[in-house]
Symmetry: C2
Subunit: 385 residues, 2 copies
């Protein structure tokens, strides 16, 4: 298969396989890789598989609602994504594989994804940043999430998140408002809008961006599904930034997935007095990259030639002085004029060593000379600390 | 000399030497180490020294106000500290020396110190933390500085700082208020209270703690003296914490000295929206240790057996569940009862694999069984993300 729409029989097989075992299921994925989806579905349905997989599929193998699922997906305007599709991101999911070339158990790639939205997955993953954080976001966290999302849009980076309350929602909404590209990865069926209060936002993402999930229709979110979902948020993104996280936030799990996948993990510092930043500070201690603005993220997200320069520090004329010149400058009183000998005494250096530095200071307009006496030029006071 | 008061002739020599070259002056310190202070002072006064030192002392060698300086010091109730004094901290200043045993030019130890206050320098340096930061502190920074200083006092750690406005002042004042030990290192003469608005505070430190300076009486602070002073703040402390710092704050220089001296540098994160934390974030990126509370500092300050344990994360009964138990738990609807087969279908595992986990959950009081049907026990909702 070279991409485009799946033929109906294959689509039915994928839909059946998506539901028959709780994803991610390495044994099932291996079988599909070996024999293809249609035969794999047939074998599983007949119970003609190894004991391990037989056990993992026992509870649901006789349940076949592939037609209903595909009908529902079609009514939503959605599509199934599989490794054969043109929009399947080979590179992004390739990183799920360990050094041996075999997927590591914990970083199993998705077998099939349910998707709704005008954007192609491969376009999202080509240049994306996961922006995640606590549902219990503070005003500070929301401000930063919004600022980062807007900055990522400006820099043509897609914003991937989990659709949750708090940081996730702010990141999605700001991206939509800025007409950027955003993808939400769900922890339940594509038709199950969770949290309920985000239904409108999630529908908008499905209309303007991309909604994604490993789970077939109707599946409701559960704790282990949030954790598995977080792995996809990390996998779809070149880097992950945790904007705010409590000590037990799910955002830490997304960060852990990103680390396991070899992707950069970034965290935003915050007040040490804020519980909503405590998880970020733990991540930073554990080696996460400290980021303070969207521009910092770009170098982690990747794509050549996009490294941004360091912030420019403010400079004053004093910054370019040598030590000798600075010491001469510091020997001046605020207003009064001084002879070279007086300056030498104040500076603690011989008068002969002051002449060069004084000439430089005069050229720089920092001091003036009048009838053999020197004094500071009129300017705003330098910070002497 | 074994400690105690300096004999008058030697005191006069030290006072003369303290003023004759701008400290720190390695050449002068070497001469004193070779021939002792009295002969060194005599040689310098006569100009009978090598060219380098002759040049460095040319401007002030004929100026001798040692008697006036010592009178002033005595009237203030102060004392001279030199390497022979019992309260001279051998260990702390020993770290100024590089691997060769020779002082590195940039980390030259002090030759002589002018001191006022009831506390002994060696008692300060035995267990001290430098708490430094920007003069333009925010309310957040002042809060943290005060919190850290109070926490250090509780843990019997002296608070060393530079007596400046902002973070330094809050650290000193809180330490005084908590009846802890604080030392201020000045960038000018012991009689020059700078900044003027801190005169009352500095006098209190001289009455209850320790005021220290390398500079003889009357010397006014200047930029290079603030930088040299910062090296003593770092040297007197087992660790340095920068609470808040702008991109050009002098606190960064104290941190750099601490690093050069091989002492741990700590920094407090803050809002990325606050310019007063920008310097801390740069330090953290450059490898400074992220600290969020005074207890974190204790392990860096040193003294054996004082390492404090990691913060305890809040736990819930769900935290101790195995993956299988957690998956079984997540298969339950919020309120309704379910048969084992229904739960198996929801969890995607065979019913036979659910029995063990269900029994564990029942023992843990998380689920209840009634007439062959299972349901969640009544409890506050678990966080499912």
């Amino acid at each position: 298969m070279t991409g485009g729409e799946l033929i109906q029989e294959e689509a039915r097989a994928w839909a059946y396989l998506s539901r028959v075992a709780e994803p991610p299921c390495a044994d099932l994925a291996d079988l599909v890789a070996d024999v293809g989806p249609i035969e794999a579905a047939d074998l599983v349905r007949r119970g003609d598989v190894e004991d391990g997989l037989l056990s993992l599929t026992a509870a649901r193998r006789e349940m076949d609602c592939a037609d209903e699922d595909l009908d529902l997906l079609a009514r939503c305007g959605g599509r199934l994504l599989t490794p054969g599709c043109a929009e399947w991101p080979h590179l992004a999911f390739g990183a799920f594989h360990g050094a041996t070339g075999r997927p590591r158990a914990q970083t199993q790639p998705p077998m099939v994804l349910w998707a709704i939205g005008p954007e192609r997955l491969v376009d999202v993953t080509e240049r994306a940043c996961a922006v995640v954080g606590t549902r219990a976001a503070s005003a500070y966290g929301e401000h930063v999430a919004s600022d980062f999302a807007a900055g990522l849009v400006e820099r043509d980076v897609a914003v991937v998140s989990g659709g949750a309350y708090g940081i996730d929602g702010v990141a999605h909404r700001t991206t939509l408002a800025c007409e950027g590209l955003t993808a939400a990865v769900l922890a339940g069926g594509i038709d199950v809008f969770y949290p309920k209060g985000h239904e409108t936002m999630l529908r908008r993402i499905g209309e303007q961006g991309l909604l994604l999930t490993e789970y077939p229709p109707g599946v409701r979110p559960a704790r282990h599904r949030f954790l598995a979902r977080n792995r996809l948020v990390a996998a779809c993104s070149g880097a992950t930034v945790v904007v705010e996280a409590g000590l037990r936030s799910g955002a830490a799990s997304t960060a852990a997935w990103a680390k396991a996948l070899g992707r950069p993990v970034c965290a935003v510092p915050g007040p040490v007095t804020s519980a909503a930043s405590a998880g970020c500070h733990v991540l930073l201690r554990d080696g996460a990259n400290l980021v303070t603005r969207a521009a910092d993220l770009v170098e982690y997200v990747g794509r050549m030639g996009e490294f941004e320069s360091e912030p420019e520090h403010p400079t004053t004329p004093l910054d370019v002085l040598s030590d000798a010149e600075r010491r001469a400058y510091e020997a001046f009183p605020a207003r009064a004029a001084r002879t070279v000998d007086q300056l030498a005494e104040a500076a603690g250096v011989p008068a002969t060593q002051l002449l060069g530095p004084l000439a430089t200071l005069e050229l720089a307009g920092l001091v003036t000379r009048h009838q053999g006496r020197w004094q500071l030029a009129r300017r705003t006071g330098a910070d002497v600390r």
